[in-house]
Symmetry: C2
Subunit: 482 residues, 2 copies
């Protein structure tokens, strides 16, 4: 007995010994009132320091797993080890349809997978090599020094007040009229959109969006029972005449737009179009969900205000964003800027579901913004991503036979292949050559886009961008006569 | 012009100047092609270093808000400042009934509020003075040194792998059979319960619980359309005969139990009762949601395995817990331990809603557990809370006229007043004397409990515990003849 004790890892040794004994007791391998070896015996047997054994025994006694009898030693306490008749439920049969749909639409489970060493154009996540971990640590230590204990205890559902203030200021600088508006902090853009959709109207509403559009948003619209009406895009944003037709012939509950570096097309909606679009929706009194996605990643051209700015004092735009796509996605901090009355209700849904978002993460992000690290980081990130963008653009022009390519900046390009060549078929051959990308069909509202794909280059080395795109081009030419 | 520029706070000065100018441009106070003062002029005018102005101008140009003309200076770029006709939607009218209910049931909005300086028995949150911020910082720095960049980028919906492994081990030490089980990391207990309820069965199910029980759980059951059937509690847990009657006369979809330091009664369900209860539910094949709430806060008595342990290899118990109630609630990390098949589906709901919980928070918590800081902290916390518990117990016995008092440990006691004295009426008088507590009715499944209240003492100084309870006792005696 006790001979099978081994040190597993670098955890404190007394804890490993305690855990070992605890497991034997809770499993019933050590029986009630059974005498344990003396600390001297056990330390000799396991060649551990006597102190280690003493501490482990003390802890076990403290946890009510053993008891000491003066002069007699340590004994195992009474611990329930009997089991009730074990039963097996069929959980799949208990899952509701919405959850089965969520599983079906789960690209991480059922999407394209790639192996290490492949050139993967799937991701549009930031390149972690860019993260300035040092300033992040500084921001953490500064905040902890100021109010570490506060930051680690419960906060408010609406969010960490200093961060809310900073974000209101941040939005004001974009020209947004923040009077009569408020902010709810969420776990990234995704929770923001989910909370909003959970709070609005009844199920089975009608939503208008660009086509193609962000697949995570599409997934949530479907999970919330919305019927999605996609409007095709031109080079400078949504097709306004088609939008007008749609608005004049159908009633919609909501609209969803990604004006900057649109996912997946990478198109930036022009200032004129933003204005035209806002005028239309003001006319039809339909609320707009604006996805602030990658707005910060402007590589060139003049400043473009978000739709929320064009709305002026109006309350019909719900702006949802996060810094995740450029800064620390691991932090899961996003926000909803909207009418005060709306935020008042969203706050209760947020509280009912998760109490609030991590106060620690919000506090670090606040300090990071406050100390100007974000500005510094953004400059560096832009210059690196700009180079990758230009390289990807040039490589596509040189190597890829395509019908149409879009992408005004950001972290990805969108390709439409000639002669309705199927992107998934191309992907299969590229996969064998160690190159993968995102088939475009998942971004479409109407099952179209079989001949499209998205190229995310944010996390790739420059040579991989070139070689990867060349491989795709060669594959299309040699195998599909593209 | 520019005279109203003031340094607002300790942010880098060039950023404050940049923001000031940016705001004037996006607001249209500076017009297109308007010439800006030279860097020399502006630095003199605002008595800032020339470098500060240079950096601010460089940033503004980089963001496309101004442009430089060689030899001529800096000019304002074209920035859209026109607004669309602004409209006002009535958001309240667009909110669905479920959200209105969430607002109604929102105790933080509509519950008892207290002012600074009052003795507040409302909270059962941990005392932040106990947090060992130093070891928390160490855990953070250790993890950042090991994989800071990874931790700050996207993670997995299921959770941070090292933490999942550690928690499986942690549950195994409680005697839980973890084979064929898996863990989903959530934003605290609350998100765990919400995700589970969102995934199971259809709406309008029937759920069985202790009466009274945790009001956040009650809120979620109601928001998910469950009909709640509460079973009264005895000194050692739920009333088994009544439970048997309920089970034999009605069909239930689910049951919810808090076996340890039950909220609000503070009762610990005895080992015998845990076994009896599990046998019953095995017989009726009804899944159990076990709330691991404060299980770790054992002050005395022998180790009690969770219900999940009694289930053995069975898959009918869904164990949901977090360390929030004792350790860093600001972190929002909890977990669901359940059947592998169930977790597989819950993972997709988690991903659809929030992608994943903060990787940073999970990584710090993992390191904190791994390095044995949690064990150290728990010992300290237990000894402090045990003293507060004994003091509160003794003070209640001495000063409070009550019909029944329960609380076997943990961070709170539950009081039932004599002669159906209304706790809210008592609260009103106590409020005027600067003492507040949680009326018990909010914890009841059937609108009962008007003569009950919960006393949370975790965050109070010892003298405040005594004085606060004395005040409540005096109020009852002097004003209500209790």
């Amino acid at each position: 007995m006790f001979h099978d004790f081994k040190l597993m890892d670098d955890r404190p040794i007394y804890i490993q010994l305690k855990d070992y004994l605890k497991k034997m007791i809770t499993n019933g391998h050590l029986l009630e009132d059974q005498k344990l070896p003396s600390t001297r015996e056990l330390s000799a047997l396991l060649s551990l320091s006597r102190n280690t054994v003493l501490t482990a025994y003390a802890d076990l006694e403290q946890e009510g797993l053993i008891y000491a009898v003066k002069g007699k030693g340590n004994f195992v306490s009474k611990v329930a080890t009997h089991k009730a008749p074990s039963i097996h439920l069929d959980w799949k049969e208990k899952i509701n349809n919405n959850t089965l749909l969520a599983d079906q639409l789960d690209l991480m489970k059922h999407g394209v997978h790639w192996k290490k060493g492949m050139i993967a154009f799937n991701s549009i996540a930031p390149d972690e090599k860019l993260f300035d971990v040092e300033n992040f640590k500084k921001a953490f230590l500064t905040r902890m020094a100021i109010e570490g204990d506060i930051v680690l205890n419960y906060g408010y559902a609406k969010g960490y007040k200093p961060l809310i203030e900073a974000l209101l200021h941040y939005m004001e600088l974009k020209g947004v009229d923040v009077s009569n508006k408020d902010i709810l902090i969420t776990n990234g853009f995704t929770e923001g959109l989910d909370i909003l959709l959970s709070s609005l109207g009844q199920k089975r509403g009608h939503i208008l969006s660009e086509n193609p559009t962000h697949h995570t948003a599409l997934k949530l619209f479907r999970l919330h029972g919305y019927e999605i009406h996609g409007i095709d895009m031109c080079e400078d944003g949504i097709d306004i005449p088609r939008l007008e037709t749609a608005l004049s012939t159908k009633t919609f509950d909501l609209a969803y737009f990604i004006p900057s570096y649109h996912n997946p097309t990478g198109i930036v909606t022009s200032s004129e179009k933003r204005m035209a679009l806002m005028k239309l929706f003001s006319h039809y009194h339909i609320p707009i969900i604006e996805d602030g996605f990658n707005e910060e990643l402007r590589f060139s051209g003049s400043h473009l205000p978000p739709l929320a700015t064009f709305a002026g004092p109006g309350n019909n735009v719900i702006y949802i964003s996060s810094f995740s796509k450029i800064l620390f996605p691991g932090l899961r901090i996003g926000w909803i800027l909207a009418d005060k009355d709306l935020i008042y209700y969203l706050e209760s849904i947020k509280r009912a579901r998760t109490i609030h978002s991590s106060t620690l993460d919000q506090a670090i992000l606040y300090q990071y913004l406050h100390d100007g690290y974000f500005e510094k980081y953004l400059k560096k990130a832009k210059s690196v991503y700009k180079k990758k963008y230009e390289l990807a653009l040039e490589s596509c022009q040189r190597y890829l036979p395509y019908k149409r390519m879009t992408g005004d900046g950001g972290l990805h390009l969108f390709i439409e292949l000639k002669n309705n060549l199927n992107a998934r078929t191309v992907l299969e051959s590229c996969y064998r050559k160690g190159v993968v990308f995102s088939p475009g069909d998942v971004f479409y509202t109407d099952g179209k886009g079989q001949n499209t794909f998205r190229l995310g280059f944010s996390r790739l080395k420059e040579e991989d961008i070139v070689n990867g795109i060349k491989t795709i081009g060669d594959t299309i030419r040699n195998e599909f006569g593209g």
